[in-house]
């Protein structure tokens, strides 16, 4: 059995304009490996290349150079996508569908039969505590509720790899804690999780390993337990403390 779930080898991504002139080098010769059953955190300041890396892993972007593989397959292969669940940074739900229909729609896309999709949807709605509002259109949901529906949608196809982009964004402290508990429980069952977060404390709680990206390059990588007591201090040491941002001088 392949031990490596995600593998990036010397991957670069340069965005180009209409005339194919390079505009932004978002990712530069990045090597990354996420192993089966691991909770891996991809951290970095805004514009560090986290989203681009995730999009390449999801097959939404092709790398300009290097190789991306998912379960040993190209990321756009159907067999690889069938084993993948994705929670984007914002929920992006279809406003006219109810919570149950949303889950059944994504279950159908994962080729689950109607009966199987219905039972899976009910099970997940129970898990994210939305059974009471299962037949309400998600367009009327609060941000937190919509986030929980999106999380359930990511899990509906029984994925082996879960990609979470800012999973706790928009959630209250109680829901945040529940999501963290859920991720830990999924990891315990053997699911591989790749997550990005600006909340370093959250990453510290749930991740086994992290990689810190800065300007498209790997600034540091290692087990959370080996990075010292505070991930925040380590992070600031690697990407800069922000002291060069002369707002105080400007205001003075």
């Amino acid at each position: 059995m392949e031990d490596s779930v995600i593998r990036l080898e010397k991957v670069s991504k340069t965005f180009r304009d209409f005339w194919l002139r390079p505009t932004v080098a978002a990712v530069d010769a990045l090597d990354l490996e996420v192993r089966r059953g691991e909770v891996f955190g991809l951290l970095g300041p805004n514009g560090s290349g986290k989203s681009t890396t995730i999009k390449m892993i999801l097959g939404l972007l092709s790398p300009s150079a290097g190789k991306v593989s998912l379960f040993g397959l190209p990321p756009h292969a159907k067999a690889a996508r069938a084993r993948l669940g994705y929670l984007p940074e914002l929920s992006y739900l279809h406003p006219f569908l109810t919570a149950r229909e949303t889950l059944m729609y994504y279950a159908g896309l994962c080729s689950l039969s109607r009966a199987e999709a219905r039972s899976r949807a009910d099970q997940l709605l129970e898990m994210v505590k939305l059974s009471d509002v299962a037949n309400r259109a998600v367009g009327g949901f609060s941000k937190g509720m919509a986030r929980r529906v999106a999380l359930a949608s990511a899990l509906v196809g029984k994925p082996e790899l879960l990609v979470l982009d800012e999973p706790t964004s928009g959630l209250d402290p109680v829901s945040t804690k529940e999501v963290k508990t859920l991720v830990k429980a999924l990891a315990k069952k053997g699911m591989t999780v790749l997550t990005t977060s600006h909340l370093l404390a959250d990453s510290q709680d749930i991740c086994d390993r992290v990689m810190i990206l800065n300007r498209g390059k790997c600034a540091a990588e290692g087990k959370v337990s080996e990075l010292g007591e505070s991930l925040e201090e380590f992070f600031l040491a690697k990407v800069g403390s922000g002291d060069d941002f002369a707002l105080a001088d400007f205001l003075a």
Binding site: L61, L90, L93, L97, Y105, Y106, L109, C110, S111
Partner: protein
């Protein structure tokens, strides 16, 4: 297959729950209802049918074309802009399936909406007794063959303009072909013109209880000044022509009368002035076919096919462009494709000396050729005039507009969806 059905279901649900489908349906039914009061007919069944079909159903069809185009351009473009498309793309679904599922959903909703106004026409007692006719035109040389034959004579003619003599052979042939289409045949006083209709004799023998008619169109001013009088004779049939003001008349033929040539229709001009007709366009033999309801059903299939093509085209544009740009482009292209046949017909002269005009005509001709198969809204013209929408044409239009072209456009849309996400 499950994913295709899911995408289809999602799109239909969105159209129904957003009230879009209902609003369009109410608008179409409202127009059909209002048309009864707005349109003034000549108090005959045929006149009423022509007005209601041409302007009532025609208005509904135009409304649906614009609505389908508007929705189709947003199908993928809006999903992409709202970032919902990427959630579908990360599932094991091909981009082609996304485009094809949306296309089928939009076509199904358009077909369902169009079915209601068509059903109101079928249920209307006003048209229940009407029948349609198969239309046959005289067998003649094709305009292209005639152009080839005329070429040497035309080039040798001292009155041929020097520009034509210098022009390429293909350009001159196109010009001559257009002239052949418009060629007038003059039938002088007390003269007889004969047009061939192969198979007429056998048909008349086999269908002893069915009567024929001939439609003559008088499209030039010359004929409108004088009373047109004469007789028509076909294999065992006879009719009297008498026309003063109408641009087209249908002359019923009765069995009997004088003998005419086998497999031919003869017109004897008994008026005071010569009659000018373009046999390829102005002489039609009408053979009774089935009821108005069946003809409407066949027209419905053709209209649905055209709407399906419009949907696929809108989806294709939306896959590659942002929604406003896609919609603008689609409407401009639709207008150009609708206008280009009449521009080509009215300005056929390939020998235009002005360079800009020549380029404009060449481009218009290119658009006309490219969109010839799909830009025609003829089912409504045929239905309005009581002409039979032939099964072969329906099958051809359905295969091309509902299947082949949309399939190609959805495959291209799949490629564009993938390319667009890279930006």
């Amino acid at each position: 297959m499950t994913s295709l059905l899911r995408i289809f279901w999602l799109e239909v649900t969105a159209l129904v729950r957003s009230w879009t489908a209902l609003i369009i349906l109410l608008a179409t039914l409202g127009w059909m209802f209002a048309a009864n009061f707005v349109l003034v007919t000549d108090a005959t069944e045929d006149g009423a049918r022509e007005m209601v079909v041409r302007y009532g159903l025609g208005g509904v069809f135009a409304l649906l074309v614009v609505s389908v185009l508007s929705i189709a351009t947003g199908c993928i473009a809006s999903e992409r802009e709202a970032k919902r498309l990427q959630l579908t793309q990360v599932r094991p679904v091909s981009p082609f399936a996304i485009a094809w599922g949306k296309f089928l959903a939009l076509s199904a909703v358009a077909a369902a909406v169009l079915a209601f106004p068509c059903a109101t026409l079928v249920c209307s007692s006003e048209f229940s007794g009407l029948r349609c006719s198969h239309v046959y035109r005289p067998q003649m040389e094709s305009p292209a063959e005639e152009a080839v034959k005329m070429y040497d004579v035309f080039m040798a003619d001292p009155e041929t303009p020097p520009e034509a003599k210098k022009a390429k052979k293909s350009v001159v042939l196109r010009l001559l072909e257009q002239r052949a289409k418009d060629n007038y045949q003059t039938v002088g006083t007390n003269e007889t013109a004969v047009w061939a209709f192969p198979g007429l004799h056998d048909w008349a023998a086999a269908n002893a209880d069915v009567d024929l008619s001939v439609r003559l169109k008088f499209s030039n001013d010359f004929d409108m000044r004088d009373d047109v009088r004469g007789t028509l004779a076909a294999d065992g049939f006879f009719g009297v022509v008498s026309n003063i003001t109408q641009t087209a008349i249908v002359v019923p033929l009765v069995r009997g009368g004088f003998a005419a040539e086998r497999d031919a229709v003869a017109f004897r001009n008994e008026g005071r002035a010569p009659v000018m007709l373009r046999p390829r366009q102005d002489v039609e033999l009408l053979v009774p076919a089935d009821s108005f309801a069946w003809n409407l059903l066949r027209s419905y299939v053709v209209m649905v096919s055209v709407l399906a093509f419009v949907a696929a085209f809108g989806i294709f544009l939306g896959a590659g462009l942002s929604r406003p740009v896609a919609l603008f482009t689609a409407i401009v292209m639709l207008a150009v494709s609708e206008m280009s046949p009449s521009v080509v017909e009215q300005y056929p002269d390939q020998l235009e000396t002005d360079k800009i005009d020549r380029i404009g005509l060449a481009m218009t001709r290119l658009v006309e050729r490219g969109t010839k198969s799909v830009s025609s809204l003829s089912p409504l013209s045929s239905l309005a005039e009581g002409d039979c929408v032939e099964r072969g044409d329906v099958a051809e239009t359905f295969a091309l507009d509902f299947f082949v072209l949309p399939l190609a456009l959805c495959l291209l849309s799949g490629i564009l969806i993938r390319r667009k996400q890279e930006q």
